[in-house]
Amino acid sequence: MTARLALRGVRKRFGATVALDDAHCEIRAGTVHALLGENGAGKTTLMRIAFGIITPESGVIEVDGAPVRFRSSADAIAQGIGMVHQHFMLVPAMTVAENVALGGRGRFDRAAAEERTRSIGRETGLLLDPGAKAGELGVGAQQRLEIVKALAHDARILILDEPTAVLSPGETTELYSWLRRFAAQGGTVVLITHRLEEALEIADDVTILRAGRTVLESAAPGLDSHTVIAALTGDPASSSDLAVAPQERPTAPTDSAMHASPAGGDAVFSLEGVGYVDAAGVRRLSDVNLWVAPGEILGVIGVEGAGQRELLRILAGRLQPTSGTVKRPAQVGFVPEDRSRDALIPSMSLVENFALAGASSRRGLMDWSRLDAETNQVINELDVRTSSADARVATLSGGNQQKLVVGRERAVARAALVAENPTRGLDIRASERVRREISARRGTPAPAVIYHSSDLDEVLAVATRVVACFAGRVTAVVPPATEGDRTPYAKALMGVE
């Protein structure tokens, strides 16, 4: 029997990084197919190729056994493929019906679009008010709208990228039972997910990618989570190039309990029953209990949307939790993921960017000569390559920009530093330097550092202790018995007990 959708020998590079290297995947008609892999394994890239958004360097795509070439997603849509992206692609100011009609041809006929939305609703049970504004829908309804959009273009193959990351448990169940019904009626579903147990429960088949290669293809029934985790993480012995040698590994403070306060009561951070519900009403964090002692480097791991973004911002004081109590230092350094947007003003000079920290509480005149001296100190200490402290930050390379951010945040907040993907987009040398500076223990007591990276190896290389975010909950990861064994971390990321 030929596959409904098949990808073979797919290769794709982005600059110097190889995203996909001989990836393949066969999806049978009428099935739910789970595509699994760690962060950066290439799942989303592979499916974007299947949807015609990315052109592969080599490889074959077949639909019903016939080779196809996609020049754009329009070609993929014409072949009956629809994709629901992790970040919804809706026009918030437009109505449901208008969003459904988007991408269609010819004149916009409101009545026809509304009728189309209703009839899809009747056939599939995906009920939506055609006249409602997309931006005013709840997250679950927005996702229904994304699926209806795809179905309106006669999609027979639905690709869903992390569809449950934003859904409540009830909505998740609802979505899964709908996907099963869709498959039972002959539709085909590809599910990109990090939630291993859910995937094994709902899927017929499983494909696992690791570092751009397909490492496992199997029917889901009979597959146990240990086999899957082994496939996801690969051979434990060879996995961790970045991990520091055992004798260098900093030792964690003895008391590493999650829930109780440390005996001395000298925690830098302590969170009790912290929860966060965002403006759209999505619960991002629930009942987080956490404390961090001076000198600790707490590694935070989590896949996108698991709650670490909110956790880091609550710790850094950039976000107020909607429930629970937070104890943290008045000043917390924060190295956010998107540095050119949230940490720096590229059109301003290095000194002005240095002055940004603490700008809210400053009164009277700016002491530019003092700020200039402090900036030059950071420039010297962290070896920021710049023509002068008065140069615009935009003229710096990404690595030097990040060094400036780290230096500034450490200078303004000596007790605590929160870093979110601090090495993203940096070359190896700059990454190394930034990582070293963040994990440096300077001063007494040494600062408490929270370190998140979507690269698990990087977290393991610097952290003295690791917690994982999964579906808004934060759990401690018990360190493995053998050095270099990543299984416990992979399990925590995938929500496997």
């Binding site: 924060f334 949230d342 301003m348 809210s360 700016m366």
Partner: protein, 318 residues
């Protein structure tokens, strides 16, 4: 050629041309140009300086007429305060609309210009109309409300001093004070200002909005007290719109706004004389103005693109 000579003579050809035409026109342009530059620096697209100027002019006229019997310094002081407050309040309407309802200030401020204009036409036919009730204008303000002249026999008045002082103050605040730094940071990178700087960006924007309106309102008071001595519909020949060009030509730098206001003041003064002497319509000057602004903007854009390219080349070379 004859036209250009006429243009030059009208602006700089005589002491009278310079002190009483060029600088007199440069005065409101400087104040309103500062208002626009300040707002744009903080990322507030205040296109409503014209309306804020009219609000200031109306309030200053009302105060001057009502308090005519008081000593002169008191009346002039009250006119300044009235102009500043009215301009700030008029801008405050747009600021509140933005904050409470998310209305874009580009839209609201330009709409409020028309509201202000119509309000002026109502006021000068109603509550503030001159006692004979014939002409659509206010009564002429008495000597106590007329601003002192700076030079004997010339038209240049107190407003010029205030405008120059405001320019110096605006530069100083932006460059040297913590508040000014917050304003610049919010304008240059709102997200980083909020996240890395902990700045309450909305509050900063509100403050800038009000300050911008206050400067424009002061320009209105200055025109009434120094030049027109009465309120009428054509009190501003579009100073609030020209000010946008003044501010952009100065690249939003308060020091350059002064130079830019002088340049535009000279062009407007010269245009009048060019029309009289050479019969060249004064709209030609507006064409020149538009060309100047476009070239400045194109040049700035070109330089930005060139700088970016150099950066990319360097980054790729690493």
């Amino acid at each position: 050629m004859e036209a250009l000579i006429a243009l030059w003579d009208g602006a700089f050809g005589s002491a009278y041309a310079f002190w009483s035409a060029t600088l007199v026109r440069a005065t409101p342009l400087l104040l309103v140009g500062l208002a626009v530059a300040l707002a744009f620096r903080a990322g507030v697209l205040n296109i409503g300086a014209e309306g804020q100027l009219l609000a200031g002019a109306t309030a200053a006229t009302a105060v001057a007429l009502a308090a005519a019997s008081l000593p002169r310094p008191l009346v002039i002081g009250a006119m300044i305060i009235a102009g500043v407050v009215a301009g700030a309040l008029w801008a405050g309407i747009a600021a509140v609309l933005r904050r409470r309802f998310g209305v874009m200030e580009v839209i609201s401020t330009i709409m409020l210009n028309f509201v202000a204009l119509n309000l002026v036409s109502w006021v000068i036919r109603g509550p503030l109309q001159e006692p004979l009730r014939i002409y659509p204008q206010s009564a002429t303000i008495s000597a106590s409300g007329r601003w002192p002249l700076l030079i004997e026999g010339q038209r240049l008045h107190l407003g010029f001093i205030l405008a120059v002082a405001c320019a110096a103050a605006a530069w100083w605040v932006l460059a040297r004070t913590a508040t000014g730094f917050r304003v610049r940071a919010v304008g240059a990178g709102t997200s980083a200002a909020a996240s890395a700087g902990g700045i309450d960006t909305e509050r900063t924007i509100m403050g800038v909005f009000l300050a911008s309106g206050a400067l424009a309102g002061l320009a209105g008071a200055s025109e009434v007290g120094g030049i027109t001595w009465a309120l009428y519909e054509g009190i501003s020949p579009g100073y609030g719109y020209t000010a946008i060009a003044v501010a952009l030509l100065a690249r939003l730098d308060a020091r350059w706004v002064a130079a830019s206001a002088l340049f535009f003041g000279a062009l407007e003064a010269g245009a009048a004389s060019m029309q009289r002497r050479a019969g060249v319509p004064s709209v030609v000057v507006q064409v020149i103005v538009a060309l100047v602004v476009l070239s400045v903007l194109a040049l700035a854009r070109w330089r930005a693109v060139a700088a970016e390219r150099a950066l990319v080349v360097r980054a790729e070379g690493l």
